[in-house]
């Protein structure tokens, strides 16, 4: 990792990273991919998020779907753990709750493959101060 030595360095780094993420999320680029974020805080892991994450990693590869599967922190919906956020190219991110491997299979087959919604979507019920979020 190169050191960030000045304020200008940090600004440039941030811009580059934001651009990378924008490209990944905007769907304007042919190489834009599907993103799967699994909430992996202690609470999520305790309700089986690890198995779900492994399932997504293995099954998406097996089924020939190119996707970036990453972990993230607690989304706050502890009652509905494990929770998973899916971003299809050009679409707003959607959060699904109560995702066991069966639900994950349904999400892959219906939502990821066909863009068809499935039950269990968790509505975004908060406002956030993060502007990067609002633009997407």
């Amino acid at each position: 990792m190169t050191k960030v030595k000045t304020l200008a360095d940090l600004k440039k780094l941030r811009e580059n990273l934001q651009e990378q993420i924008r490209v990944r999320e905007s769907g304007e680029h042919p190489e834009s991919t599907i993103q799967v974020k699994v909430a992996m805080a202690t609470c999520g892991i305790a309700s089986g998020a690890k198995e779900v994450m492994t399932f997504f990693l293995e099954e998406l590869e097996k089924r020939g779907i190119e996707a970036v599967v990453t972990q993230t922190g607690c989304m706050g919906y502890c009652y509905a753990e494990p929770t998973v956020e899916i971003t299809l190219p050009g679409e707003k991110p959607l959060v699904f709750g109560y995702v066991n491997t069966r639900k994950a299979d349904e999400i892959i087959e219906k939502y990821i493959k066909n863009g068809e919604l499935v039950d269990g979507i968790i509505p975004e019920i908060y406002q956030s101060i993060s502007e990067t979020r609002k633009e997407s």
Partner: protein
Amino acid sequence: MAKHKMHLLVCGGTGCKSSDSDLLALALRNELQEKGLNGEVQVVMTGCFGFCEQGPILKVMPDETFYVKVKPEDAAEIIAEHIIKGRHVKRLLYKDPKSQQSIDDSKHMDFYKKQLRIVLRNCGFINPENIDEAIARDAYAALAKVLTEMTPGETVEVIKKSGLRGRGGGGFPTGLKWEITAKSVADQKYVVCNADEGDPGAFMDRSVLEGDPHTVIEAMAINGYCTGADKGLVYIRAEYPLAIKRLKIAIDQARAYGLLGQDILGTGFNFDIELRFGAGAFVCGEETALIHSMEGERGEPTFKPPFPSEAGFLGKPTNVNNVETYANIPPIILKGASWFSSIGTEKSKGTKVFALAGKVNNVGLVEVPMGTTLREVIFEIGGGIKDGKKFKAVQTGGPSGGCLTDKHLDLPIDYDNLIAAGSMMGSGGMIVMDEDDCMVSIAKFYLDFTVEESCGKCSPCRIGNKRLYEILETITKGNGTPEDLERLHNLSLVIKDTALCGLGQTSPNPVLSTLEYFHDEYMAHVVDHKCPSGQCRDLMTYWIEGENCVGCTACARVCPVGAITGERKEIHKIDSSICIKCGACLEKCKFNAVFVS
């Protein structure tokens, strides 16, 4: 590709389900089928919208129209008007309670969003083990701003003006604390992050550390810049292994980028962070005890003053702030003091994260502006009480807080209101209780916790709390007298007045608040020797109602102590002298023949 053009999102939260949102979804599906639209419009059940009071909720996508109190009978009209003709069904739109105007502009659809995420802004979005994602969402931008554009004094001034108060429980003004530490003269100063989250049921700080560790690192560095400290210490309990792991990764990544270490961003400012592990003692959340624990001493509090800001870790000026307090700092720096102070109430600014738990439908992390009412948190965001039971009380502030009742539901939550009501903000645990909870047992539960966690240094806490616990135990066993209630009250006041630290000074709060608000329930225990909510085992009797008993023998077979007798197809009987009141028979009986009082 079977992609639908429109979606009807029907709320499937518990609140809406109990007002027939299932039937609504079914009616909508049938109607779509009939009109031949099921290929174009899809009905989807969702989780809770947090707007249960107005349920069932129906949201139409992509135009984001938000319908409230929708009944199955409305399905036909919605399909005919909205879906086919593209016109809003006006009577089902949400009406603003003040102006009585229907809200149909999709841009103003945020009205049902009670939550505002400042502290949790990155939790659940970034990969906490990847600093790049954090930087893309503005991590370290606030640090860069203060290092290059602001003096330490100006920065402290911003924090002071913002009105931020300590989120660990006490509510001490953060800016003032920083100023005192900054003014202390010493060759070495420290900043400490208190991540010793110990209230039963509280997990806000863990979630922040697990979801967004960089915000804490950045804020500690800003704190170091303001106070003149080049060393930061995070005191974290060893029982948070994932938080520790992610914090370590985050610190390593920040070092690799040069955002921690020597000459940060070429400004000559040096700062680095080390971790210190706690063994999970509750009292170590108290700042003087925490400092002693970090020094390798026993985790016992000492008398203040001197305050840690003057003489703390190794006798040097030390600024101790809680995880959530730190997580507020970067947004305040970036967006300004007046932005932050525009949120909240007169004396409590910004937001508060609550760990909502207990008998509530949507258990979870909730971040709301100060001044939000308990009703909004419990009944809207929290989706109301489980299984349609009645709300009884809510416990805030953990073992130091108290229980609030339905008459406090419309109380705007802030530091001062909660204290005036006999509880406190605490670190943000919020445990909801329903009609089945016995308040004497709840008080006993918290006392059990404090007795266990008392460090034993001062006698009011060590001996007094133990006596309180014993009196409560006598009451729940059915041997209490009305005089016991007076003894409880007096002893509680003495402990509050004389204990050395915050733990002892607040430990009688659960007793005092339940004594005040649930006096009848205490009286029932000591006068009638009955537990109204049927929780105190020793006060219960089980019996079999002859009319309902069919003599199936199921209860006799499940009884672990052989207290139930009776022949097949004959009425059974429970011998209360043998019965251990385990309740197995009640659970097993299919004929509602077993009763308990």
